[in-house]
């Protein structure tokens, strides 16, 4: 009888602790599943942006802007390959060229669409709504190419609107720029 009584106490204790462990395990597993679900949602949202860049308004804008540079390839090559006495002379020539080819309202509209798209994606990552790794894998190359090509236009906007933060998020996110490129 004493053995049975002792076993009953131990059995109750083990039962209780096993129950507690089961609850803790279930809670931890649920938490991990929730975190993974959040990550999956972020990745899916990022891939939606990728699809939009391939087939939406941003795609048309990007294509127009790239086509513009392709059409002016020879003139662009002449400016960039020319020997200059100073860097400021190179920058002055390049700035003037880009501002001249972006003077039409249609091209300015395309630039606004393209830059706004990339900046919107950067904000999505900043707010932890999109996955940073996916976004940077798909968008960094194109964002850098676009910004490096048309940065004189961005500088002119900042000067015109007296606002140094125009497309600054795009610049910081994709290009890791720390200084002021428009100075």
């Amino acid at each position: 009888m004493k053995i049975l009584t002792e076993n009953k106490v131990i059995a109750d204790a083990i039962k209780t602790w096993l129950g507690i462990l089961a609850i803790i395990f279930a809670g931890a597993y649920s938490l991990l599943e929730y975190i993974e679900h959040k990550q999956t949602v972020k990745v899916e949202r990022s891939l939606d942006y990728v699809s939009h860049l391939r087939s939406g308004n941003a795609a048309e804008a990007k294509l127009s802007l790239n086509q513009l540079l392709a059409d002016k390839q020879q003139a662009l090559g002449n400016i960039l390959n020319k020997q200059y006495s100073s860097e400021s002379e190179l920058n002055t020539s390049y700035n003037a060229f880009i501002l001249q080819i972006t003077s039409t309202p249609q091209i300015q509209r395309q630039l606004e669409v393209a830059f706004s798209f990339f900046e919107e994606v950067a904000i999505c990552v900043e707010k932890e709504l999109c996955d940073e790794e996916v976004i940077k894998s798909f968008f960094t190359h194109e964002a850098i190419a676009l910004f490096n090509s048309y940065y004189p236009y961005v500088c002119s906007l900042r000067q015109q609107w007296k606002n140094k933060t125009v497309y600054l998020k795009l610049e910081r996110f994709y290009l890791n720029q720390t200084g002021d490129i428009c100075a």
């Binding site: 699809s51 390959n81 090509s149």
Partner: protein, 70 residues
Amino acid sequence: MTLKEPVFIAIISLVLLAAGCSMVTKPSKPQQKNTPHAMPQTKQVDRGFDPCLLNSKLAVCGNNENSNRK
């Protein structure tokens, strides 16, 4: 009550819990929604042009840690 019953019940519960969790279907990789089966054929003009590749002395290329030059 002996030691066997509650331990047995607890083990069965854990086994059932583990079995239930493993039956929850979840994609191992994120599923791509609305992925076009035929991706637009990329041409040179689709990929963009980086002037820093031709001349790295432009103002924008100087502090650019993520330049396409790398």
